[in-house]
């Protein structure tokens, strides 16, 4: 039992915190938002230079063999700085599919481009009616010769506007809500039959709704077993949930810090409003909520390595519940304690609130995961 970072992990944290302190203050972020695609290629290449894009890949694949704790450190830092770049979509999710189930050829085709920053990925999973059920897939992949023909509509694909490669879930067999018959396919974003409608999201990221019409890919496009990849999808999405938990902790840390600084300096009735007990208690409750979230983010990071998939999923669902409750409280109270200024686009706190809010509704909200834990027999 040891919650301290190792020397190497401490250096990793210093390195990413340093990079973001230099190149990611709130004013710089505004500039990056206006760049093509809504994020900064220059920052992305800096992340690549420091080895952060290769962090979770094995050394054999050209990476650094980092584990869950390393990803947690990076995601917390990205959250703290409210980073726009597609680390989750490219490294955690896209990279996750390749790491867990990619063939040597698939790894060789995609991982080097991820690591050097030249290629990004996007996960095309959500459908009009699937909501949070990963097995609810209406998009089809039909066999044609050796390859596949994919048809369907995917929504709110993060980084879908910019990605070079899409990771698409599609059904090869069975009905929409069957748990078998689901495959995962690597689809070039410029393949014939792929059309995109791109837009900024509420929290300043960019996403796309993507239609696939008769998109033809080869046999080598399938990652894992094209007829039975739900377990793989759950594995990778669990990792994405864990990463989101860590990002949320970073966001909450910064929200609390910003809010406390604000109430120390904002004066009304001749005194700092932070001297009022009702505001002090609210801030204390924000601290409690943040610490509970941090504990569960660590728990989820640990659960990532559980061998039993049910226990892993249950623990990560529990973490997402705690993070969801904490982020709602911390996010809302950050705005409340800022008062009117918190309602403006000009103040940074509102942007933290918006990102936190979107995290709750990504890969399962609080109610969804609470039901999962309840149905799995609880968490004693």
């Amino acid at each position: 039992m040891d919650f301290d970072l190792s020397e190497e992990q401490r250096l990793l944290k210093e390195s990413i915190d340093g990079l973001l302190t230099d190149s990611y203050d709130f004013e710089q972020r505004k500039k990056y938002m206006k760049e093509k695609g809504g994020w900064s290629r220059a920052v992305w290449l800096k992340l690549a230079e420091q080895g952060l894009l290769g962090l979770p890949f094995s050394e054999a694949d050209g990476g650094f063999g980092g584990g869950g704790v390393e990803t947690m450190i990076v995601m917390e830092a990205l959250g703290k700085a409210l980073v726009l770049e597609p680390y989750l979509a490219t490294v955690v999710i896209g990279g996750g599919f390749l790491r867990h189930a990619g063939t040597d050829a698939q790894k060789a085709a995609h991982i080097p481009g991820i690591i050097d920053g030249s290629k990004t990925l996007a996960f095309a999973q959500l459908e009009k009616n699937s909501r949070y059920d990963l097995f609810d897939v209406a998009t089809t992949a039909k066999k044609k010769g050796d390859g596949w023909v994919i048809d369907g509509e995917k929504f709110v694909v993060l980084n879908g506007e910019n990605a070079d490669t899409l990771v698409v879930t599609a059904r090869t067999k069975g009905d929409r809500r069957d748990k078998t018959g689901i495959g995962v396919f690597l689809v070039p974003a410029n393949a014939r039959g792929v059309t995109k409608k791109s837009y900024p999201t509420q929290d300043g990221l960019h996403a796309a709704d993507i239609t696939l019409t008769g998109v033809e890919v080869g046999a080598d496009a399938a990652i894992g077993n094209p007829e039975d990849s739900l377990a793989l999808i759950e594995r990778v999405v669990d990792e994405a949930r864990v990463a989101l938990c860590a990002e949320a902790v970073g966001l909450m840390d910064e929200s609390l810090k910003t809010t406390v600084e604000y109430i120390k300096t904002r004066k009304q009735f001749g005194v700092a409003i932070g001297s009022f007990q009702s505001l002090q208690h609210r801030a204390s409750d924000m601290f409690v909520a943040t610490e509970q979230a941090r504990s569960m983010s660590m728990f989820a990071t640990m659960a990532n390595d559980f061998e039993n998939a049910k226990e892993r999923s249950n623990a990560i669902a529990a973490a997402k519940v705690q993070i969801g409750k904490s982020l709602k409280f911390v996010g809302q109270q950050s705005i409340q304690l800022h008062g009117g200024i918190g309602m403006t686009m000009e103040a940074k706190i509102g942007h933290y609130f918006k990102r936190l809010t979107m995290i709750e509704n990504t890969f399962g909200d609080t109610d969804y995961h609470q039901r999962r834990v309840a149905d799995a027999g609880g968490l004693v």
């Binding site: 208690h281 801030a283 409690v288 509970q292 504990s295 529990a318 609470q370 309840a374």
Partner: protein
């Protein structure tokens, strides 16, 4: 960062667990599960079993009978003790006055009191709170005047837990009226059998008798019963209250209660099926279990930090423990109320003789719910805890 218990720690947990299985009197365990009060004999019997094993004062320095365990081992021991469940050591002796005596007392006092605390030859109670001094403890008025080789003590204490069993009291008394309020307090110990000590029971809303008022009327106490220096009592009190940072979360207690709720909810019917099959109830239960898991991890963070960096500088997360720990304990008693539904109402007509198994488990649920309102009040109310976080952690 490595969040798993080591093999040695897991083996230690097994050792502790099997000792409890073999040595906790079954009736004592049953009463705790049902939320009943134990008799003095039942408690003392168990504590002496524990002391004989060498675990009675586990966290004391080894020269006074402690075990030398790591902070993680202490955590495991407490969790297993609470979740078995077995009675926890008498905090007033073992966690409060004991450490004050071995840290600030003289050799004679150590020799005289420590072994008797360990074996509960003396039952200790705590003379801190007064009718006018709750959260503002330093405003206390009980007076100790020096007359020759004696202290003459006059005043009143309240909320004195289990004073009806006590042989000894450690008492904060005002010894200097002119000093700033924190500076004129001394830490004095004396026999509850002294002439002039009167104990009057306070019945709490659960119908129980845990706490008392204690009156001092010209109580004569030998001068050598002062612990440490005169007028330094406030420092010792702060030391004492800061000593038990992690036990206060009572994670093991809530774990045991959640297991019980799950068990009962599988048996009690609602709408023709066990209440555990009711989705709304099940989700509420899961929500509480998740909160407890977060608290357990927060507690482990504090424990691991203490193990590594000593107790000098508390981990900021430690202030979370009291607030969340008490809230979760209260939620578990609410969930029990929900399981039992209309059968919360009957008064405990059967007594606790174990003769009516069908009904016995219901008898203490409402009283336990009422009684647990105390946990967010005692030990520094949760509002005081929030003040502490605001000042000490957030710098407000």
């Amino acid at each position: 960062m490595d969040l798993a218990f080591t093999k040695e720690e897991q083996a230690f947990r097994e050792e502790v667990r099997s000792f409890f299985r073999d040595n906790v009197p079954p009736d004592t365990r049953r009463k705790l599960v049902e939320g009943r009060h134990l008799t003095k004999d039942e408690m003392v019997t168990w504590w002496r079993i524990l002391n004989k094993k060498g675990w009675g004062v586990s966290h004391w320095p080894t020269q006074y009978g402690g075990t030398g365990w790591t902070s993680v081992q202490h955590y495991i021991f407490n969790e297993e003790l609470q979740s078995y469940p077995a009675p926890q050591p008498l905090a007033f002796g073992v966690s409060m006055v004991g450490p004050v005596i071995y840290t600030f007392g003289n050799e004679e006092q150590k020799k005289k009191y420590l072994p008797r605390i360990a074996n509960v030859d003396d039952w200790w109670c705590q003379g801190f709170s007064e009718p006018g001094s709750g959260s503002d403890l330093a405003s206390l008025k009980t007076k100790a005047e020096r007359r020759g080789d004696k202290w003459i003590i006059n005043g009143q204490k309240t909320w004195t837990t289990l004073a009806q069993h006590a042989d000894m009291i450690f008492c904060l008394c005002r010894t200097d009226n002119n000093a700033k309020k924190q500076m004129g307090i001394s830490f004095i110990v004396f026999s509850m059998k002294s002439k002039g000590v009167t104990v009057r029971p306070i019945q709490t809303i659960d119908g129980g008798h845990e706490v008392n008022e204690v009156f001092f009327d010209d109580v004569e106490v030998p001068i050598e019963n002062l612990i440490g220096e005169e007028n330094k009592g406030w420092d010792y009190a702060k030391f004492l209250l800061g000593n038990e940072r992690t036990g206060i979360a009572r994670v093991g207690v809530s774990k045991e209660r959640l297991r019980r709720i799950r068990d009962l909810a599988g048996k009690v019917e609602s709408a023709g099926k066990p209440i555990i099959q009711d989705a709304a109830f099940r989700e509420k239960l899961a929500a509480c279990e998740i909160e407890l898991k977060a608290l357990e991890l927060t507690q482990l963070r504090v424990v691991a930090d203490e193990g590594k960096h000593g107790k000098g500088k508390p981990n900021p997360a430690s202030s979370v423990l009291k607030i969340k720990g008490s809230e979760i304990q209260q939620t578990t008693t609410e969930l029990l109320m929900e399981v039992i539904g209309p059968f919360a109402a009957p008064y405990d007509v059967h007594g606790d003789d174990g003769s009516n198994e069908a009904m016995d488990w219901t008898a203490q649920i409402a009283p336990s719910y009422f009684n647990n309102r105390k946990v967010s009040i005692y030990g520094g109310s949760n509002e005081i805890q929030r003040n502490i976080i605001a000042k000490a952690v957030l710098g407000l």
